[in-house]
């Protein structure tokens, strides 16, 4: 922003606003990734738990001669 008579305050404000906007967008996306991973972990843990239960039932049934 070279100017013989200085720079306008409006230009400075616009520059600052754009930089803050970029910082916020980047932060927003990183937090979004974290939330998605959190949800994925919860789903994976639930699926893992249900698979463990299912496998335990299979193990008991394969062992039970009366089944």
């Amino acid at each position: 922003m070279r100017a013989k008579n200085g720079f306008l305050l409006v230009e400075l404000m616009i520059g600052l606003t754009i930089s803050i906007f970029f910082i916020l967008i980047i932060t927003h996306y990183i937090i979004e990734v974290k939330i998605t991973q959190q949800q994925a972990i919860k789903t994976i843990e639930a699926l893992s738990l249900s698979r463990n239960q299912r496998e335990k039932i299979v193990a008991q049934k394969s062992n039970d001669p009366y089944e």
Binding site: G6, V33, K34, Q38, I44, S48, V58, A59
Partner: protein, 167 residues
């Protein structure tokens, strides 16, 4: 920084205003980085390593399910190591925990690996154990327990039956 070249100079008020706004932006950026970005990035790495361990347990379950659908025999059953033989295809598969890593090995085993292809399935594990569940001298299930280094409280347990369900 924005160059402020000016042949006629600039007023002290403009300079102070600019300095104040720049300081505010710098402070705001530093605040966001320290309070939001750094903890979020560390949490992301944490979740990533937990997901990797769950993927490793999925692979283990897949291997045992392949094994239980074919005639097989056990070669090694230890706390940190499992090796079994697939009779049809005449090859051995082994899983072991060593040096904070979970490894899968495939090849020919006879008192040691004669021929092998090893791959690291997961890293960053504090403790990895295999627990055999048997009934009347008959192995019915295996439980793999992984304690992640990033969060020892989040123990990952994965149970799998070694005999397929009779229909």
């Amino acid at each position: 920084m924005i160059p402020m070249n000016n042949k006629n100079g600039f007023s002290l008020i403009s300079f102070l205003l600019y300095l104040m706004l720049f300081s505010m932006v710098a402070f705001f950026t530093a605040h966001i980085i320290t309070s939001l970005l750094l903890p979020t990035l560390s949490a992301t790495r944490h979740y990533k390593s937990l997901i990797a361990l769950h993927i490793a347990s999925d692979l283990f379950v897949r291997d045992i399910r392949i094994m239980r659908n074919k005639p097989h025999s056990w070669k090694v059953m230890a706390l940190h190591e499992l090796i079994w033989h697939i009779d049809d295809d005449n090859y051995d598969v082994g899983w072991h925990y060593r040096n904070n890593r979970l490894e899968r090995t495939e090849g020919l085993y006879s008192q040691g690996w004669k021929q092998r292809k090893a791959s690291v399935v997961a890293t960053g594990i504090n403790q990895g154990t295999f627990t055999i569940e048997s009934h009347n001298n008959h192995i019915i299930g295996i439980e793999m327990t992984l304690i992640p280094a990033v969060d020892p409280k989040k123990t990952i347990k994965c149970y799998v039956a070694t005999q397929k369900q009779e229909k």
